[in-house]
Amino acid sequence: MKAQASVKEKAAARTGADLLVEALVEAGVDTLFGYPGGAVLPIYDAIYRADGSFDHVLPRHEQGAIHAAEGYARVAKRPGVVIGTSGPGATNLVTGIADAMMDSIPLVIFTGQVAKGVIGTDAFQESDIMGITTPITKHNYQVQEIEELPRIVKEAFHIASTGRPGPVVVDIPKDISSMVHEQKVSSDFHLPGYQPTINPNPLQINKLHEALRTSKKPVVLAGSGVIHAEASEELKQFVQNYQLPVTTTLLGLGAYPGSDELALGMAGMHGTYAANMALYECDLLINIGSRFDDRLTGNLDHFAPSATVAHIDIDPAEIGKNIPTDIPIVSDAKAALVSLNDKEAFSLEHLEWMECIRNNKAEYPLWHDQPEEAIVPQWLMQKVYEYTGGEAIVTTDVGQHQMWAAQYYHFDRPNRWVTSGGLGTMGYGFPAAIGAQLAEPTSTCIAVVGDGGFQMTLQELSVLQERRIPVKIIIVNNQALGMVRQWQEKFYQERYSESIIDTQPDFVKLAESYQIPGYYIDSQETLEASLPEILSNDQPAVIDCRVLQKENVYPMIAPGKGLHEMIGVKR
């Protein structure tokens, strides 16, 4: 607050960077994830002078900054803000931008750019970040005039966080951020080309309501659209009104309580038998905020073949993109559910269907081997769930461990689950946990990572060291790129090409070198004796948990197969 005032006092001679800082304060930003460099020196100077307005998190690689911002955005439910310098700083952000685009994560990313006069001359640290990020952003801007800056920042936050959320890049040439400006500039904006449809068409809502009446085999598929719309309560009410079975996508975990009786677990490539069969056999599929990703649908020819498909999505382009839709509802998930809940509820005649679903759940639950002493990753996930009472924020990296976390950690609330779904970005999990923990300092935050992916971004241990952020890193250590190894075992006749990695650092010593407690766990006994304490204390932790290498994620829909062609359904 004090710092905000001090910026105002100097209003007479503000630089472009000062205007940026003011605009950030006005947008309610209090946390920045960034890394300095030549083209953003004026911005970093303004941040310095705005002393205390922001908590600036300095990662050790720009990729760490942007994944942290993604984790922050997921948990804090507002845009994550990132700063990177021009050229390599900006290109190091690219993976995270693409990741956020795929998973609809609201981010506002500021990149430095060389001075306007030398753009296009291959100047030192110039990169065409506009060209590079156009296909992977919801929108991007290059500031051309200092007067535009406050307006653009405001627009960027608006675009990132409304409609279907997504990343917005603002590229700021260095001469603009260092230029002194004395007039007051307006930040009013008008975006005639951007008017997201929030409220559903009542006729389509009626149609869905009617379709429910005649349905004998309905199922709800909840995607992360429900979470973005903060519509979990409305979903619960809708589902309870009609006693509908609910499955979720990978990103939709937590949209509906995972431990509820009506919950079928996750659907898709590694979804539960009950969930996938419900999608396969249903006569009415109500998709709320999922984009029918191929990892969910499997072979499109076998996806919900006899269903009337209703699709609620705020992005009209998702409706009908992959699956022909009978009842299209362009709307915010919450608004649509409110309208549905306003209608008179009735009881469905779906006893048989519910019986069949209950049977599938009981007959074909998730299963895994249970050796005497050694740890299997599925059991590890169950223990983590148990020890944290299902209340932790769980972030994951990408691979087998991600699927096991999704299968065995039952999220009862939204915004506890942070994972890279669409892009499948290895290296995501640990930095995302830093952002998630900063968004909710008092929650237990666990990064479940593979030994492969962790090594892509482990330099961010410095951030834990510096701030004593109590993130618990659980390395599900199978000494392999497990998911790759599994595919090679199943589909490439066990030719393990470049997927078994038995050379690793000593993770415990590594942790200790960052002054972080490191633990080595290789038996069920040590795990049960030590993990509860490690997860509940207020220190960061690196837990090298040795698991059996040869475990596979089941059930599985092999590539090209339909939902009903799962393998590994039973032991």
Binding site: M130, T134, P135, Q142, I159, L191, P316
Partner: protein
């Protein structure tokens, strides 16, 4: 099928790149694209002729274009009553003897000779794409040295027939 799609866009730097990048990212085939300013300051119009497999693909195309922040309005005008024109310039090998022969060919097309040299003449033709195609076919035997087409630009007619009197016809087959 071939469709004519128009997009009204904010004339900002990079907008052409956004639109063509989007079309190529989503694997749409653009046959031609023309861009120019409109009656409104800061607003341009793009006309695309695209080849799409089916209606679902077409719907995707218009929806994806609509999602762009700088795109104000997208219309598929293929089945509307429209006026559509493109301009082509054709440099044909010719000597003084066959020049009048060519003159005879181009006349019914209301094309014009806009440049003459010892070995060639340049013909300018304006019209719907099939008319331009037809003239090019006739000129081909003489030897075409150079050919440039602007791509189609189009808008809907002032009067749209009512549904009853509406006979869908396609300009592009």
């Amino acid at each position: 099928m071939k469709r004519i799609v128009t997009a009204i866009v904010h004339n900002r730097s990079g907008v052409l790149n956004r639109v063509t990048g989007l079309l190529s990212k989503r694997q749409f085939n653009i046959e031609s694209i023309s861009v120019g300013r409109t009656e409104t300051e800061g607003v341009s119009k793009m006309t695309f002729v695209v080849e799409v497999e089916d209606n679902r693909k077409l719907e995707q195309l218009t929806k994806q274009l609509n999602k762009q922040i700088d795109v104000l309005k997208v219309s598929d005008i293929t089945d509307k009553a429209i006026v559509a024109r493109e301009l082509a310039m054709v440099k044909v090998i010719s000597n003084p003897q066959i020049r009048s022969e060519i003159q005879g060919i181009i006349e019914p097309f209301r094309a014009a000779i806009i440049d003459v040299s010892k070995e060639s003449i340049t013909v300018q033709v304006t019209g719907k794409s099939d008319k331009v195609d037809a003239l090019i076919d006739l000129l081909r035997p003489y030897g075409i040295k150079e050919l440039a087409r602007t791509g189609l630009t189009a808008f809907t007619r002032g009067h749209q027939p009512q549904v009853t009197e509406f006979k869908p016809y396609s300009l592009l087959k």
